[in-house]
Symmetry: C2
Amino acid sequence: MVTFLSGGTGTPKLLDGAAAAFSPEETTVVANTGDDIELGGLFVSPDVDTLLFQGGGVLDRETWWGIDGDTHRTNAALSDIASAAGLPDGPQYLSDDKQTAGREIANWRRFSGTGEFMTIGDRDRAVHITRTSLLDQGHTLSEATERLAAAFGLTIDLLPMSDDPVASLVHTDEGMMHFQEYWVDRRGEPAVETVEFRGSSDAEPAPGVLEALEDTVVIGPSNPVTSIGPMLTLPGVADALGQATVVAVSPFLGDEAFSGPAGDLMEAVNAEPSTEGLATAYPFADAFVIDDGDDATFDRPTIQTDIRIDSPGDAARVARAVAEAIEIVD
Amino acid sequence: MVTFLSGGTGTPKLLDGAAAAFSPEETTVVANTGDDIELGGLFVSPDVDTLLFQGGGVLDRETWWGIDGDTHRTNAALSDIASAAGLPDGPQYLSDDKQTAGREIANWRRFSGTGEFMTIGDRDRAVHITRTSLLDQGHTLSEATERLAAAFGLTIDLLPMSDDPVASLVHTDEGMMHFQEYWVDRRGEPAVETVEFRGSSDAEPAPGVLEALEDTVVIGPSNPVTSIGPMLTLPGVADALGQATVVAVSPFLGDEAFSGPAGDLMEAVNAEPSTEGLATAYPFADAFVIDDGDDATFDRPTIQTDIRIDSPGDAARVARAVAEAIEIVD
């Protein structure tokens, strides 16, 4: 049994070839939910969705989000209507009093849907509507995810990190914004001062998460701050990782992040924005998998391979390196 | 200045040719909102939407709802997901405690979006998302409607009947159900015992509605019970109609309703399910427009013409008959 901790791109890429070393039936994936938002009343869980679509064989592998071949009729019409109605562009936060009124899980991350600043596909949207409706029917995010995972035919066991609200809020020189505004709308441009995971101290890991951390844990090449960071703030998770065998795959090729804003965010939390910063970000890691060309040195076992993942074959190579690292430290 | 009271099909059909007798710039249309529901978190206002799409020149004139040529990708995907996830078919009411928790205007008419029992098109959906988001941003339904009317380029002045919740609930031999379940999902099959407009006694007419009723009022060939009935229950509306010059167009050809469940519903409220029942339903009417072949007699002026409306030309003929009736009684 193995448990992967996953954000929305790097770790899913690794999972594309993970079966080379780990049986999907014996694999649990814990997905970040700090990036989740409520947009126009829909509860969108981007990292969970990427894993659902990947597991269901429908993921758009050009973007690593959304459904392959999806249309965007509603999203385009929202933009047309906003323009015709003179409604403003870009993310529109609901008012402060609305931020904690409604579905509790959407606290501190509620946006108006006018203009719809995230590109949501038409089939994609059906997933968000189903999830949101299941929440409104009284199910937890875990339960909704389980139903959706069954619908998409997932072989792995997919768990959201928490059924409680945890909002990844980025404090920048232009003010505080939710991670999705910072990354999707602002393309990571504002200078990051600090990152807050609002709600995390009161949140519980979702059912099954702490149990899954009793198995060997693989931290995929995801953003240590905003993809893995929210999980680490949940009560009990850091302790559980301290007990478990943990192998972390670097999300950096030298000081270049694979994808996403990992570098800037690492700096904001006072970690070295490179592979070497992983030792700080993951003090509980027992071994690392880093790139062939990386000259980082660690006081813990390190496997080097070509960690760039552009195909399932690449992913399989990295997965085998992870298995090799586990062999050494388990 | 003239004010039409409208449901979702009959009166919009009449409006298609109303310009033959009434200047669109001097026309106000008050739309029924008793049929509105919240479905998967979207606030859907079917009668308002038909008028928006008609005024914007995009209405599907085969069905008299939705946008011509719209796709239904999300709706189809919702059905696929519900089926794959083993979620039940048909309307799923949210729980009793959810019925009055959330947007106040959606009280007593909140449905889960799983499976989505109403056929919502992809562009259509963008209208619902925009409306719902404007409500969540603190705007009233009137304000949201005004923004949407501007976006669709409407010439007429379109007002929802109220900014407060009024839910058309049909009590049947199979229990109580919202009008949309009764009509869209159950195709009007359950035997109607009575119709309740929940919330109407506490609801206010929307801004501008009572003022609009100071003009000459035309009640189009809409369902007297569930299209016009909700308006009549609003405080001040019946009184205002008592003061105004009111011409009503029969929604019946003899005892056959033009469209919708008018006959069964008339019987449920103890009115004759035919043109003659209009005298009971609309005691404030000063004149009627009925079909050539209709042998109903009234104690008020009556204009007869071919009232079947299958084209803008038909609508113009009926509109001219309405103008003629107004001439007599104004």
